[in-house]
């Protein structure tokens, strides 16, 4: 029988490491090692950076990069415009109402992205429900909503808006309501109190939510593949094409590594902003 209890700091640390071990092992075997393998594969024998050279020298690939960024940026902007008012109402609603609305915000996540994307196709397709309803009144949309950039934006925004809402909501909940109250007490109209006090205080949340949505949008595949047109090729689709059709795995690896680096840069910014947000919390 050991007389020492195992609760010393050292023993506790050992137990913690032991508890982490399965997860770390799993990540190493199925994530880190394949990832390193992929990065290694992106370098070619002979001219090591040949793949990267052709990515950055070809207009086609640059175009895909720019398109991916553009779509991600637009989706982020629309998500912010749609999400901010919802988050604001959530943060100011009574607890019971807020809970119900939150459930509706999260509910779609119990359905797969694939199913939800097909649902949109049924809804906004050329012969979809929206056009059918309009046809009853002899109307027709002057443009298509599906199989073009509009379709991609609609689908991606729909899936990403809850991330924006939840991030904004969490940050707005952290804003002490006495700040708004103080603004009223000092003579500010509701509009002035919002613009001069609440909005600036919610900006860290806006930045965090926007970066999160942007990062997620960069890697989107299913939605743009199913709802976009032939010209709307995002980076993820390009990678898939290289793997499945061209069978140029080395080039696909180089594209994936480039996307990974871009995403990591965005994530580094996100991490900084999320910390900044904590600094702005009400002083205790």
């Amino acid at each position: 029988m050991g007389r020492e209890r195992p609760a010393t700091d050292d023993a506790r640390r050992r137990i913690h490491l032991l508890m982490l071990a399965p997860a770390v092992l799993l990540l190493c075997v199925f994530f880190v090692i394949p990832l390193l393998g992929m990065i290694r594969r992106s370098f070619v024998d002979g001219n090591v950076f040949a793949n990267y050279a052709s990515i950055f020298s070809s207009d086609v690939y640059l175009h895909v990069f720019l398109l991916t960024f553009r779509i991600s940026a637009i989706v982020t902007a629309i998500s912010l415009l749609l999400g901010y008012p919802v988050a604001y109402l959530l943060a100011h609603a009574k607890a019971g109402i807020a809970r119900v609305v939150l459930i509706f915000v999260v509910l779609p996540y119990f359905t797969s992205v694939m199913v939800r994307t097909f649902a949109w196709i049924v809804l906004i397709g050329r012969e979809g429900i929206i056009n059918q309803q309009l046809a009853i009144y002899g109307l027709r949309l002057p443009f298509d909503l599906l199989y073009n950039e509009a379709g991609v934006l609609i689908g991606m925004t729909y899936i990403l808006v809850p991330f924006m809402i939840l991030t904004l909501y969490a940050s707005m909940r952290g804003i002490d309501p006495t700040f708004t109250r103080a603004a009223y007490g000092l003579g500010a109209s509701p509009a002035a109190a919002f613009l001069r006090v609440f909005l600036p205080l919610s900006l860290p949340g806006v930045a965090a939510g926007s970066l999160l949505v942007f990062i997620l949008a960069l890697g989107f595949f299913i939605t743009p593949a199913l709802m976009g047109g032939p010209a709307d090729i995002t980076l993820a689709m390009l990678i898939e094409r290289e793997v499945e059709i061209t069978m140029n795995w080395s080039f696909a690896a180089a594209l994936a590594t480039t996307l990974l680096i871009v995403t990591l840069i965005a994530f580094a910014v996100y991490a900084r902003v999320a910390r900044l947000g904590r600094l702005l919390e009400p002083l205790s």
Binding site: D176, T178, F179, R181, A182, A183, Y184, G185, L186, G187, A188, S189, A192, A193, R196, V197, P200, L201, L279, L280, P282, L283
Partner: protein, 372 residues
């Protein structure tokens, strides 16, 4: 040259029969008081007494269920806070963390769309007034609690409100700083002739700072008066108990003579006291006597109330000694000045306490929170 700050002298604030109910819960009941222009008026009470609700109604964050609030003769009870123009300092200061000290103080002027060239000098004047002249470009996060308090004060005063409300403004500060800020706030209030509504649960703060104090309990206004009035002439048991310490003796009225009543307590002990109420013979009453009004002098010419007992506890506290004595089912405390000549009485020693009629306040025994 010390430019005289141009804050106006403040306005009279009338609270008339204010009531606030939440469903069946009565938060504030029949609060009536007139705060004179330039008066330092404190609302004092334990937590849950309705003092904060009363203040929220004055500020406009809560509308009264009944009654009226008039500021300088005009009813403001139904106006939103931003239309009342009352200055307010919150318990946690609510200094905007994303704005510099200067921008915080500018805030009330900016939202009033005052031209920038007029804002500058006003803000400078205010920052000087609260001794933060060189802190204009700091962020609130870099300031101490006391400095943030000053920012909140400057911000609440810069637009020259007719009334300034302060809600437990010193609660978060340590004792030294709190005492310093008490003096500072009082100085500003006098210098600017502010009409001040000050909410606190700290009786010492209320007594030292105020012109008049309103004591609240269970949503009711229990007594309003100067600190001297409230401490020395409490109208009821709650005030005598809440402010400072009191000995309470219950008994029955056996004779009345104008403002004085003769009371018989347990064990045939009789004494006389003063009252603001009228009692008939046989009424159950309670008398309150401050421990420091009791003396050990056997023959004090004015002290006609005499009680004998035995010392049961002695606490020497430097300047004073606190005695507790028991006798005839009564237990009384006396706080006496220490004098070399007297020395300390040992536990068990016989002792005689004497005190005057005027310093014995008599109230009805059943009443708890009735208005005076």
């Amino acid at each position: 040259m010390a430019a005289k700050p141009r804050v106006n002298g403040g306005s009279e604030l009338v609270l008339e029969d204010l009531c606030k109910t939440y469903g069946s819960v009565v938060a504030v009941e029949n609060f009536t008081a007139t705060v004179a222009a330039g008066e330092f008026f404190t609302i004092l009470g334990p937590s849950g007494s309705g003092k904060t609700t009363t203040m929220l109604m004055v500020a406009g964050f809560s509308f009264p269920s009944k009654g009226d609030i008039r500021l300088g003769g005009q009813s403001i009870a139904r106006l939103p806070p931003q239309a009342r123009g009352i200055g307010m300092v919150f318990q946690n200061y609510a200094v905007f963390p994303h704005l510099t000290v200067r921008k915080n103080v500018e805030f009330p002027l900016r939202v009033r769309r005052m031209p920038s060239r007029e804002i500058g000098p006003l803000v400078d004047e205010m920052l000087d007034l609260v001794q933060l002249g060189s802190y204009g470009d700091r962020m609130p996060g870099e300031l101490s609690g006391g400095q943030q308090q000053r920012v909140a004060l400057a911000r609440a005063l810069v637009f020259k409100p007719p009334v300034l409300l302060m809600d437990e403004p010193l609660g978060a500060l340590d004792k030294k700083l709190r005492e310093h800020m008490q003096v500072e706030i009082r100085r500003l209030q006098r210098q600017l002739g502010l009409t001040m509504i000050y909410v606190t649960h700290d009786q010492e703060e209320a007594l030292t700072m105020s012109d008049r104090v309103a004591i609240m309990n269970h949503g009711r206004l229990v007594q309003v008066g100067s600190p001297d009035d409230l401490y020395n002439r409490p109208d009821n048991r709650f005030v005598a108990d809440f402010l400072g310490e009191s000995n309470f003796i219950e008994g029955t009225v056996i004779a009345t003579d104008g403002k004085a009543v003769r009371v018989r307590a347990v064990s045939e002990f009789e004494f006389s006291g003063a009252t603001s109420q009228s009692f008939s013979v046989g009424a159950r009453v309670v008398a309150a006597i401050r421990p420091e009004k009791l003396t050990l002098d056997r023959v004090h010419p004015a002290h006609t109330n005499v009680w004998c007992g035995r010392v049961s506890d002695v606490v020497f506290a430097g300047a004073v000694t606190r005695y507790r004595a028991e006798g005839g089912e009564l237990s009384l405390s006396a706080t006496v000045q220490n004098r070399l000549a007297i020395g300390l009485l040992p536990i068990g020693a016989p002792v005689t306490f004497t005190w005057s009629v005027e310093e014995t306040r008599v109230f009805g025994a059943s009443e708890k929170t009735k208005d005076g």
